[in-house]
Subunit: 339 residues, 2 copies
């Protein structure tokens, strides 16, 4: 066998032909559009139903828009795209599959809960690096109202929110990977393991996901020989304020102080005090729009050069919670660098 090994450690591959993120598109709901990152999003909806008769259809429409618009920005047609990788939070990922129905693009459906943006970007990057594709689209979405009624309570119920709870982001992010041009490129992919530290509180997802984030970030440093200061920003998925603080503390125990570089997409997307979003934002769409909106634009302007995107997911369902199960978490890390 003459296959050259690209795995450089237990969980990390180094991409030798780093794919480039040649375009992104971020679409968000009205509440996200009133938050601190407002000016970075490509589109802010006035109406979070997108004129559709259900929140689920609205979510799928957002993803359709994100994919369509990122293709336009890249000056590509759907026939140019080799693969579409996407997933979302809804049962049987209907936002993704009903969006994918509108495109004639070979489709891989994913489920990684809120880790899906870095999961789709990981697989899309690997398939590009391996020479299997010229252009690949990665996308994901979430919607506050479809998530609330699926995972928690119908909105009409008006239930009180816990201080540790997070607010599912209404939004979708999509991006196109290509081989050419001066764009941020994906250099390393560190794939997470499922971690379960026995957290059971579905209103405290940050705590459930923090151990997974820590495990993946530590593995990334060990595998690559990098250290926190090699990055301008380490952006975790949607740990929120509580999960972000917990992650920083746990990282200390492994000998890494990441406080200077660490931001959490869930913590920064809302003004949590003013917007009453408690511990912060969550949902697949959260790290998707923070990356495709905020971080990508800062990379393009060279305000930052090196980002480690670590989307985090809580892998429970209402059934597993009702059956007394704990909440396992997962986190995937992707290193993105602008030369």
């Amino acid at each position: 066998m003459t296959i050259k090994k690209k795995k450089i450690g237990g969980q990390t591959v180094k991409l030798e032909n780093p794919p480039k993120i040649i375009s992104t598109y971020s679409i968000v709901g009205p509440k996200e559009g009133q938050g601190p990152l407002s000016s970075y999003f490509d589109q802010i909806l006035n109406d979070d139903t997108c004129g559709k008769e259900s929140f689920e259809k609205a979510e799928s429409q957002m993803m359709f828009t994100a994919i369509s618009e990122t293709l336009k920005k890249a000056k590509l047609k759907e026939k140019d795209i080799d693969y579409l990788f996407s997933g979302d939070l809804l049962n049987q990922i209907i936002s993704s599959t009903f969006a994918a129905r509108e495109f004639s693009i070979p489709f891989f459906g994913l489920y990684g809960a809120c880790s899906t943006m870095s999961e789709s970007l990981s697989l899309a990057s690997i398939i590009m690096d391996g020479g299997f594709a010229d252009y690949v689209v990665a996308a994901t979405s979430s919607h506050f109202s479809s998530a609330e009624r699926q995972f928690r309570f119908p909105l009409e119920y008006g239930s009180q929110r816990a201080q540790t709870s997070q607010w599912t982001v209404t939004g979708s992010g999509a991006l196109v990977l290509g081989h050419e041009g001066k764009y941020p490129q994906v250099t390393y992919v560190t794939t997470g393991k499922v971690k379960d530290f026995g957290q059971k509180d579905a209103n405290n997802m940050g705590a459930a996901m923090a151990p997974a984030a820590v495990d993946t970030i530590v593995s990334h440093f060990k595998d690559t020989g990098r250290k926190p200061s090699d990055y301008d920003i380490i952006a975790t998925g949607d740990l929120g304020k509580i999960g972000r603080e917990l992650t920083d503390k746990l990282m200390d125990e492994y000998g890494y102080n990441i406080r200077q570089q660490h931001i959490d997409c869930g913590e920064i997307i809302f003004d949590n005090e003013k917007q009453n979003t408690k511990a912060g934002g969550s949902g697949c769409g959260c790290s998707a729009v923070v990356f495709t909106g905020y971080l990508y634009k800062k990379l393009m302007k060279k305000e930052i050069r090196k980002v480690l995107l670590v989307s985090t997911g809580a892998l429970m369902s209402t059934t597993s919670s009702l059956q007394g199960e704990t909440i396992p978490g997962i986190a995937h890390a992707v290193a993105i660098e602008m030369n």
Copy 2:
């Protein structure tokens, strides 16, 4: 850019370092164990709860067993495995994530409905061929009782079944890909597009998935220049009797007569008359156990040499059906050959 292109047509890649399926394991429920393929399965359960207190936990336990046992057969430890790809039918793929929690293996969660066996095998093969891994596990599962109560009615309801309905297979299949040895190898991967021909009847999944199967098989022939007689067996996922007949007719329209090679995993796993399984079996576990049990063993014995596995999925949820949506389908094809 010096990346060698591996895409040989619109939807197909040719694997230049074809990964080998070095072991498989199939575990099925009691009813599947009474069917015509009984002697090919590695393990037949006497009790479809696996001694667990819920069907969901039983399904996850089956997948855990399938993964553990295929590792044992391959004489590998979990630390030898670079990636685990798996998915299932349950909301938020809890069978897969709770099984993955027990292994310290980087995990990619997938959702492709009943197409998941060929989806996981496709991505696992691509990642192997690209040199990103030494060993990868692909797995999937389904369970009659967890699927019935999630997608249709509680078992206690005792609802009558339509003649076109299918019986979700209780079973899990897992396999290990490696680079060395005399084993069946994956040579081509044809990735499906989401196809929707407006079928709305959730009791006739075969008809919903047939157009996707036809689209992928036709694309495979066009991309590779192959014809039906190049295969000993073309095994569709779980179209059942009705979907299989429809697929054969639709293939005629494209100028391909596949009747001689075509079997459907859903049609052959049960004796549909005697076992009252109507149009046949379905579920992710169906093509998983028919491949890892029946077809793999026939390949190893060289009774057959060339198989095109085309697992098919119906991409609806209870929510999408209640909201009046049609049922999109998808099918992924993987060519597996024994020298």
